[in-house]
Each structure stands twice: as C-alpha cells, then as structure tokens.
C-alpha cells in the first residue's frame, strides 16, 4: 500500500486521492474553507495550504503521491493560515455580531480555530451590490469569499446553473445568471443546495432572524 507522511503520521492512500482526502480518511485535520466533500476541489481560499516536500501547496488539489512528506501543523503554516483568514476578513465586510450566519459560519469558525484575534490589515470596506430582489433568498456580496460552492451546487446538484463569478482581481464578484442579473428572475428556491452550501453569510434565506439561540448553533 502506498503511503504519505502527514506531520509524521504514515497514512495510506488510494490512487487518485488528494492529500486532503487521505488526511480526512485518516482523521487528520487540515483547515479548509472552499473545499467540501462531494464537490470538485477548487483551491481558491488556500486555507488548506500545507508544505509538501518543502513547497507550499493546497492540500485539496494536490494529488497524494507515495513517499510525500507533508507538513500541516507548523508555526510557519499557522502564520500563513492566520494571514489568509485576515485577508478574507478585510477584503469583505464580516461583522459577525450582525450576521445571520454567525455561529454557523465556516469562515468565523476557521478564524476561531486558528486563534485570530484581530484583523491586522486595514479593512477595505467594499461596497458590492446587494441583491434582495427575490422573496425568499438574499445575496450579500460583501460577505462572499468566492469559493464557488454555490456555482457548482446550483449547476451540478440543483440543475439550475444560477450563479457565476465575474470580474478580475479585487473586483471579482458573484453574478446571477439572468438577463437582469437579479435573483428574482431565476428559479432559485430557499431549499436549493446552492443556498445551503454557502459557507458564509453571502447567500441567506430571508424571513429568518437569528432563530437559533446562541449555544445551539452549528459551531457553538
């Protein structure tokens, strides 16, 4: 059986598995955001950055190869992850106390897990267009982290292909596949996987207001 070394632990893997997949199978945690089992790996958030034989790589996209030496929990990588989280926080508007997703947000959880206590960088306060046109679903683009999980879920699971990513660089933004560009002109429903899969508070179901009490939320 072929094996890789994950922080010293010798872990077997099957042909075609990524470093992330073989770590998950061995119950070894690698922090991640844009990766979700069941979806094609994306590799955009870079939170799962590990060091493979001396080179930084995203664990979710890197194929496992026999004899690989993978470092995960090192001071250098903790610093990289902390910086990446801070970057995600400052490029968007993530005001946790006022966000419906608080307590169930994967970005917030990752920040807690990594011990992020400040933003460090100056916040950018973006003003991206909000889409409140649909009766049941809302898009707050200032919270989007461009993981494209909604794009894939809507296209591949819901069969609706409602979302896409547009723009370039820091102007990258989530767009909606309708002539008007508005969610109201799509057949999205609050039950869609694309809505549920959003790791942050960028796509929210309307008509709810902090209905899960603190202490009972997903990551409490």
């Amino acid at each position: 059986m072929k094996t890789v070394s994950l922080d010293g632990a010798v872990v077997p893997f099957a042909e075609g598995q990524t470093v992330m997949e073989c770590a998950l199978a061995a119950n070894i945690s690698i922090p991640h955001l844009c990766f979700l089992p069941g979806f094609l790996p994306h590799g955009s958030c870079r939170l799962c950055t590990v060091k493979i034989d001396g080179r930084l790589a995203s664990a979710c996209t890197q194929p496992a190869m026999a004899g690989q030496h993978v470092e995960i929990d090192t001071e250098e990588l903790r610093q990289v992850r902390l910086s990446l989280l801070r970057m995600l926080f400052v490029e968007g508007n993530h005001y946790c106390p006022a966000c419906e997703k608080s307590g169930s947000c994967r970005l917030q959880k990752a920040a807690y897990d990594e011990g992020m206590l400040d933003l460090h960088y100056r916040p950018w306060y973006p003003k991206r267009k909000m889409d409140a046109s649909h009766p049941d679903v809302l898009i707050d683009r200032d919270r989007c982290i461009f993981c494209e999980l909604c794009v894939k879920a809507s296209r591949d699971v819901d069969g609706k292909n409602i979302f896409g990513i547009s723009g370039r660089g820091i102007d990258t933004h989530l767009v909606v596949n309708s002539k008007s560009g508005l969610l109201a002109d799509t057949d999205i429903s609050a039950q869609d996987r694309a809505v549920e899969v959003c790791p942050v508070g960028a796509i929210l179901v309307k008509g709810r207001g902090f209905e899960i009490p603190i202490g009972k939320r997903l990551y409490d």
Binding site: S44, N161, R168, D171
Partner: protein, 522 residues
C-alpha cells in the same frame, strides 16, 4: 472569429466601443452559454467594457519604462488637451483616456494604444497633434503613418536570426536532435522541449493541439513583437513541425491584444502557408497579463476568464478542450524550426552546460541603444550593459516585474537557467532614478493583473500596492516596510506564479536600496 466568445466580444467592443448588456445576452444565447460566463469575460478582460467608451479610446502604456520616459506627464497633457478626467468618457462621447499595463514598446516609449493600435515615441508635440486629430474627428486610419511606425531595433543578431536552410528533420529524428541540442523552453521555466512534445504525442486523446504563447505581457519584454514581425514564417514552421510530431491538426497563435497592429501582417503570413494538414488560427488576447500563464491562456482560448487551472494535470495530457496540448513560447518554436533546419549542433555549442543556445533579450530603460539583443546563454549583466550603452547604472531588473532586481555588486551574474532564468526582460535604471517609483509601479501592476482567484494573490497584491502607495506619498510607516517583507511568505501560498512572485522585486528593492524608501516612511 467564428463561435469563439472572446473573439466575438472583441469584435463587438470594436464596433460599438463597448459590449452592451443586450449583446452579452445575445452572445450567450447564440452560443448556448450561460449569461454569467459571457458577462464574466467582459468584466475580466481590460480591453472589454460594459460602459460606452469614446469614439477614440486611448490607453497610455503604464510600464515603469514608460514612466521613465515621461508617460505620466504626457498622460496629464493629453487629458488636459481633451478636457477629460482619466478613465471618464468625455460627455460628447469623443474620447476616453485611460492607462494600461506595459504595451511592449519599451524600446520606443512612451507609447499608447488608440482604438487598440500602438502609437510609440510619444512627445509633447505628438500628443498635441494627436489631440488635434481627435478633436477634428479624423479617424486613426487617416493619421500620419509615422505615428504607427514600430521599429524593430534588433541590435545584436546571433544563431536564431541566421537563415538555416538544411534538410528539415521531422518526427523522432527531430525530437532526438532537439534533445541533443539541449533545447529548453524560452519562456523562463526551461522545460525540455522535446520531452514536452513527446509527452503530448504519447498522451491519450482523440485530438491534439499546438498552441503558441505570444501573450508576452511581462513588463519590459518585446521580443515576441519582433519575432512575429520578422520570423512569423519560421514560427509557423516550428508549430507545424510540432503538429506533425505530436499528431495535431489544429493550432492556435495566442497574440496579446496590444500587438493588434500586426494583424494584417500575421494574417498574410498565415494565408501564405500551404499546409492542408495543420491549420493555425489567430486568437487575440484582450488585456490580461495572467493569460501568459499557459493554463490561463488555454482557458482564454476556450473563451473563458483567464483563471489558471489546477495543475496537475498539465496541458500535455489535459490541455485545450481537455486534449493533449503543447504550449510553447514564440522563441521556442522558432528555435525548434531552426534546429530542424540544421542549426542543432551549433546551438549545442553555444551557451552554458545547463542552458544551451541563445536567448533574445529585450533591453530597455536608461541606455543609449534599447532593443533586441541575442546572446549566447551565460552572458553577464555587465556585458549587456556595456553593449546597450548604459552608464552610471544603479540597478537592473531582470525578468520583468516578476523578476529580480540586481544592484551593481551583482552585475557579474549571468543570464542562464542556472543563475538568472528569464523570458528576456532587462530594464536598466541609472543613478538618477528613485527605485521607490519602480516598486510602486510593479506593485500596482500585480494588483491590477491578479486574476482574483485565490486569496493570497487577490488580497495580498492589493495590500502590497496600498503599502507602496503610502510609502510613495511619504506617509508610509515602518509597519508598511515590515508588511511588504512578510507578505512574501503568504504570497508563496498563491495558486500560480503571478502571486508567488508578486513581491519579489519590491522586496529586492527594499533590501538593496533602503535609502530610496526612507523618505517615504515616518
């Protein structure tokens, strides 16, 4: 153009000075693609715009070498002449004046693009004359020819420019000859070319493609411009040889949009080819440096935003439309054709042990004779400086914005894969220059050209540029200086080489010329 979304959108932009929302929907429906995909293209490529631009759309080349030749002053002069604000279309719709990344005219800058066509050698007089022509609504085709003249400035010719006329080698014999000659990719990464071709040939696939990367966007590089002008025949021959070797029927020449002025020339050269078995199509870029990255380039040919792919798989097994594809640089295909025509043994005899043959260097900046220099690999920086007539040199930037900044103590270093690997950009800074300007220019460049896919590059290049803006305006802090250094470790986690190398030059400059930055820090 056919049914390629990007080429259609470029044509629409040209016809209407923008891509109207209605056109986005129509293109999507005509091609059976999602609206978001077409919108994504329009909002990704710099030369496409959703807002109407003026009848005259002017983009001033914003490379550091343009700055050194006074482009920023000329830009303000042009805006003043026309009464426009940067990037804002004049209310009568006459003109829009903006900036764009390096247009590849560094040896004859400052330069601009007017409706996509290059005008070089700008002076106050030329800017004033152009302003008058625009006010009189005289179309660029009726402007004096000399405005559009682009010099080749070939200063030093070597092996590549020789007229190799031997019997043409093909297939396995050619691969062996290329291996023996030691040909490695000329784009900078240096992958053995024969190995790449053989891998593509041996990979499973119902079709194969040959793609030439002529999207040279690295600031300070213009060798492809000159090769396309002078050696297009040799280039197409190299692509055809590759096609016969790997078994490809179709090829693409991806040319950066900034070289649109070469269109008629290239089309004529293509029309002159007689090869029914291998068809080459021109594919125009539309203002995106990232498309020089080979997998982003393939995405772009497929009509998508130029986002680099997850690799592996590499293009040789999973390239254009998922088929085995060879992507090589213009200079590499030209060299392969020359080796096939008998140049192999001489190629082998030139250069260093690990870097055979010659390399075209694009030399610009503070020197008497900017232009194209062909050297055997292993040439020292000081030799280049002597030949191009550079005196009183403070620094040399090798490899463009993504490359390394050398100070005088390093001018003995050599251009080769073992020491200074480069696609060929050499920019010279003399002792009158403030390296803070170069650092600002490069950091802005990366923030503008980041594709936005991954966190460290999308955000990190922005943080870097903001820190440099503050330092340039004299309101930087020690923290900014520390931050620029620290960002390197995080940028290394980027998805592709753009982000990974985005702070290299700035970091070099801070370390080697700290006195240039002191004035910017309080």
């Amino acid at each position: 153009m056919g049914s390629n979304p990007l080429q259609l959108l470029i044509a629409i932009q040209k016809a209407f000075n923008h891509v109207p929302d209605d056109a986005i929907c129509r293109v999507a429906s005509a091609l059976g693609l999602p609206i978001s995909r077409i919108l994504g293209d329009v909002e990704f490529y710099s030369f496409l715009s959703r807002e109407p631009l003026g009848t005259y759309s002017v983009l001033m080349s914003d490379s550091i070498t343009d700055w050194m030749l006074g482009s920023r002053e000329l830009f303000l002069r042009l805006c003043g002449n026309l009464g426009v604000s940067p990037g804002v279309t004049r209310c009568d719709g006459l003109a829009t004046v903006g900036k764009t990344s390096c247009t590849g005219m560094c040896d004859q800058g400052p330069a601009l693009l007017v409706n996509g066509i290059a005008v070089a050698n700008l002076t106050d007089e030329r800017i004033d004359a152009i302003s008058r022509l625009m006010e009189k609504q005289i179309p660029p085709v009726a402007w004096p020819d000399e405005y559009f003249r682009v010099e080749s400035n070939i200063r030093r010719r070597g092996w590549l420019f020789q007229d190799w006329q031997g019997p043409i080698l093909e297939g396995e014999v050619l691969l062996q000859e290329m291996t023996d000659a030691g040909l490695r990719g000329r784009g900078g990464a240096g992958f053995p070319t024969a190995k790449k071709w053989a891998s593509c040939r041996d990979a499973p696939g119902s079709e194969r493609y040959v793609v030439c990367n002529a999207d040279e966007g690295e600031p300070g590089t213009f060798k492809d411009r000159v090769l396309l002008q002078h050696c297009a025949g040799r280039l197409f021959e190299g692509m055809a040889l590759c096609a016969r070797t790997v078994g490809a029927k179709r090829g693409f020449l991806y040319v950066r949009g900034e070289y649109r002025y070469l269109e008629a020339h290239l089309e004529a050269q293509l029309a002159a080819r007689r090869d029914a078995d291998f068809e080459i199509e021109l594919h125009w870029g539309a203002g995106a440096y990232i498309c020089g990255e080979e997998s982003a380039l393939l995405e772009s040919i497929e009509g998508k935003r130029g986002i680099p792919r997850v690799r592996p798989p590499f293009p040789v097994t999973f390239g254009l439309h998922g088929m085995p594809t060879v992507v090589d640089n213009v200079e590499t295909f030209c060299a392969a054709a020359a080796i096939a025509a008998g140049g192999g043994s001489e190629f082998r005899s030139l250069g260093t042990a690990g870097s055979c043959g010659t390399k075209l260097l694009s030399v610009s900046g503070d020197c008497a004779r900017p232009g194209i220099y062909e050297y055997s690999f292993g040439v020292s920086v000081s030799q280049i400086l002597e030949d191009c007539g550079a005196g009183n040199v403070l620094a040399v930037q090798v490899g463009g914005a993504a490359g390394s900044c050398l100070d005088a103590s390093e001018f003995g270093r050599k251009i080769c894969f073992e020491d200074l690997p480069t696609s060929g950009s050499v920019m010279v800074f003399d002792r009158t220059r403030d390296m803070r300007e170069a650092a600002l220019n490069f950091s802005r460049f990366f923030a503008h050209e980041s594709c936005g896919f991954c966190t460290p590059c999308r955000v990190g290049t922005g943080i870097l540029a903001q820190a440099m803006e503050r330092i340039s305006e004299g309101r930087g802090t020690e923290e900014d200086i520390t931050e620029i250094g620290d960002l390197g470790g995080i940028l290394k986690a980027s998805h592709c080489g753009l982000g990974q190398s985005a702070n290299r030059a700035v970091r070099d400059m801070l370390r080697k010329f700290p006195e240039h930055f002191e004035g910017g820090v309080n």
